[in-house]
Amino acid sequence: MIDYSLYSKQMVLPGFGLVQQQRLLQAKVLVIGAGGLGCPVIQYLSAMGVGTMGIIDDDIVEKSNLHRQILFGVNDIGSLKVDVVNKLLNERNPSLQIHTYPYRLTNRNALQMIASYDVVVDATDNFETRYLLNDACVLLDKPFVHAAIFAHEAQLSVFNYGPINERTTYRDAFPTPPQTGEVPSCADAGVLGVYPGIIGCMQALEVVKLLSGCGKVLQNKILIYHFLTHQSYTIQLTRNALIQYPSREQLLAADYTVTCAF
């Protein structure tokens, strides 16, 4: 029996009612990465009643995570992130299905992992996983919501969504993967604790829009947001005819750790 009173304050909103709430409750979302972006995505999607969530991350909690990865506290240092998340979410909203996977997304497990979910959230901190999940989502016909942060700026986009001949992907935007070390991660470039909170909530909102049909999804666009000025800049994205995607066999044989290629 579903207790809709949990969600009553969002169900009274114009444009979001019982039908939209039911779509969330029936949805299956896979969050790749339980770090700075993953934490706000996971906690808001579960609070809002996304019925099934998968969370994949092989990391353990470190002291330097705590200022931005706010599902974790000092007592969790050394624990697997997915174990802490699993326990918390079950306490907060036991009616939801939570599946946790304490390993990395690889070319060997990606297709199997993603196949049973409706939407994928790219909350990763590295390009090999991002290009891999991009290609796996194209093969499996799944939309994915991307966000990434560099210093005081963030990018947000919904890829592989919309009419099939207009869909764009991360490879349409960035056909050539950067070299290792060329683009520093949050851990290396620095990040104010609130930044992934802000952009992760925007990422969660795109998932909700996509699932519920409420609002306009950020497809075929890249939103660039500057935290210190609140200025945003939107770039329109079209298909790049030169981009090729791997077949299932090519993806299974690829080594994304070297070139993000297949």
Binding site: D125, A148, F150, V183, P184, S185, Y233, I235, N240
Partner: protein
């Protein structure tokens, strides 16, 4: 002709956003060559170009008043 150049992400460390004067008839390829001469470190980075908020997949002519953005991928999550 005068254009506006916007710069995002890691490229902020290489060059500032600015207005630039380009020779008449210049295209995005010539703009990139000019930027590489002025800011040699730029060649070390992957980035894409957007013209008037539209990402371009091939080099295109530039017109007076165009806004060109240099967008690298962002990593962190």
């Amino acid at each position: 002709m005068q254009i506006t150049l916007l710069v995002f992400g890691v490229l902020n460390d290489i060059l500032p956003p600015q207005t630039m004067v380009l020779p008449a008839g210049a295209d995005t390829h010539q703009l990139q060559q000019l930027l590489n001469e002025r800011y040699p470190d730029l060649e070390k980075y992957q980035y894409v170009l957007a013209k008037n908020q539209q990402l371009i997949h091939q080099h295109q002519p530039i017109n007076e008043g165009d806004e060109i953005a240099l967008l690298p991928p962002f990593s962190g999550g």
